[in-house]
Subunit: 460 residues, 2 copies
Amino acid sequence: MFGFYFSFSSLCGPRPAFFLRYNRETMVPHLTTALNGPLLELEQRILDAMPRIEYWLRTQWLEHGTPFYASVDLRNAGFKLAPVDTNLFPGGFNNLNAEFLPLCVQATMTAVEKLCPEARNLLLVPENHTRNLFYLRNVARLAQILKLAGLNVRIGSLIPDLAGPTQLDLGDGQTLTVEPLIRLPGGRRIGVAGFDPCAILLNNDLSAGVPDILKGIEQNIMPPLHAGWATRRKSHHFAAYQHVADEFAQLIGIDPWLIDPYFDQCGKIDFQARQGEDCLAEKVGNMLEKIRVKYAEYGIDQPPFVIVKADAGTYGMGIMTVKSPDDVRELNRKQRNKMAVGKEGIEVSEVLIQEGVYTFESINGAVAEPVVYMLDHFVVGGFYRVHTGRGADENLNSPGMHFVPLAFDSACQLPDRGLNPDASPNRFYAYGVIARLAMLAASVELEEIQKEINGQSTPS
Amino acid sequence: MFGFYFSFSSLCGPRPAFFLRYNRETMVPHLTTALNGPLLELEQRILDAMPRIEYWLRTQWLEHGTPFYASVDLRNAGFKLAPVDTNLFPGGFNNLNAEFLPLCVQATMTAVEKLCPEARNLLLVPENHTRNLFYLRNVARLAQILKLAGLNVRIGSLIPDLAGPTQLDLGDGQTLTVEPLIRLPGGRRIGVAGFDPCAILLNNDLSAGVPDILKGIEQNIMPPLHAGWATRRKSHHFAAYQHVADEFAQLIGIDPWLIDPYFDQCGKIDFQARQGEDCLAEKVGNMLEKIRVKYAEYGIDQPPFVIVKADAGTYGMGIMTVKSPDDVRELNRKQRNKMAVGKEGIEVSEVLIQEGVYTFESINGAVAEPVVYMLDHFVVGGFYRVHTGRGADENLNSPGMHFVPLAFDSACQLPDRGLNPDASPNRFYAYGVIARLAMLAASVELEEIQKEINGQSTPS
């Protein structure tokens, strides 16, 4: 029954006719908690401060160049609305509402004008997946957007043993041709056979490190190599986010905690050798206590929890929900192994301890987590990860997780003060604001990494 | 019957349910001429050259700042697709497809970032209409777009005897509050009572000259005062367009005539005193001959015609369709009076002679003329002026003309090479390209006027 309700939403094409028989309202998640007072107030304040917010963001974008694109995972607890992950290599463009394709195209035009106006040929470098149809459809959609923005687009793959141009069947009537990424004659440029791109767009998060073929090339790489997980750390991101959130909270007169999850870190941890466990348990305990104080302040009657996850990486391997310091000490071998191995077999040694934010949005009994998509600094849409088998305190973006994407049904730039603060256009506007704060934090974060790199390479 | 088919299209809100019973295809005009060979070839070339076109436009926008907004009237003759008027104070935002509102908001954000990033408060200065509901709904829609882009917006009217804030009923459940435009204390700024705007957006084409209250103020006026018809001349615009069209034609390898109407001018003309008539008749004759040569070249079996209209002004008063030099000499008194009086009673003394371009697009027997809307350099939608009582060789934007607006049903940035060159998304893309050429010409034209103004005010 549930499957039937959502089966349409994974399609990219026009909605099947039966959709029209349903009331749209039933297709938008709603909050399943009575604890929505602070959120309603937050959403009301965001709505009221809209011109001030947009002005402030405009001045921020004058000072900080944005990454090419990003997606931000949000959690809406009714009493708190916060980003929990900012992905600079978004992998779900196929999940966006197809009606907003023109919005994606227009935003891409702006991004290209700013980052590589001279580009005609663009090479898209995806993850090495060949069987993940969902991901491949994302690559196809992204290539379509880039083509509609007026670029010649080819797809250059890092798959080591790719013999030649390979047509992949996307299972929905589409195919996608990926070609082996090569160094072009001269050695300072990369491309695919017969195609010398002006710019490279990475959709590969470089979890396994920066491959040699991407090093020392003269073409413009977007986002820069140091945006990959070989360099990036979530703790840096959330440190930058904290500053952004503080400033924003002051702007609209709220407690920054309402939009900012606590975080901490613990140096190197070896889960299998049980090194660093005491530090982790202690910090988890401290954070749970801080959250408890806040919950008491806001009258929240839920057990606090924290999330322990890799400080580098996106795919959600090695993620733990922890409600007591003992949870960390009492890990069994299987759990230790799971935490020790991140994406692509990389050992997790640095972890982020992050305040857990409940997802109290649900649709037909299933937990829903909003994901907001941005191109340049424009919000171009989003979708809900809807999952029946998960709890409100679990990560919805973890391995083996079969979420059903539910595209946002309206755009994020149509707030309406004539409606309630939690009406769908207003909620989507609030989501777009918080997501842009995370995008701004990512801009600051990348600037800081760049400064560090420059500092290392320039004699002082 | 016809009225019934179109009655929905003037609504801004969601389409009424009965729309869903009709096939969308019947709602898109189609060409009613067999003479569409050259156009299909043109559209095919535009489609094939898309990445080259977008790259070329991107480099043009780096060199030329665009006006805040524009609308371009196109004529599609099947053998020729050309702009016939470029309006820098577009008055039909209410006619655009409401689904593309987010596209308008995003483009406005870009325009504001470029032209007035420091603006929080924006004053919109409309035409002095109080009873033209269609125009007032345009103002309301424009104010809505600006608000959604995050600005505080008030409407400052130039109506001389406006006593105070006045609520106008838009006849569709909406109201619009206009306030008297005033000089603020200090004398160098304008606004409305209690509102000091950072920027002024003109939606008034200044046909009657620049009013004193707009002169010598320190705020940023968009578009600049010299974009008004007190300064602007269509002949300057089409001279700039000719250069743009030539360059573009070379880029994609076509005869520039396919996208560029001939034009000429005749100094001062006094229709009532019959001065300048010989010059006009001669130039009309020459132009008809030039068109005849082109028609022979392309095997076009239609009588050539030219349009004689005011060189300054938008509202279509004093517009003549002329098929022979004698038509100019044989004007009766009524026709002379009509030509002599332009908008707001201004005497027409300078006229533009423009090659007539047939409108061979029609829908259910009615003539349809596409109008493309742009914000910054982004195409944000468009509509057809649909008119049952007019011929394919007549101007559809003239006084007393009750056209029915039919919003473009899809966006202009979704060309699909898998479809025929005249399929709706491809035709809309071609319209968007030609409209952007006209926007580019307007940018160059305004730069030239600015240079002239600077030259006059700076000692050499």
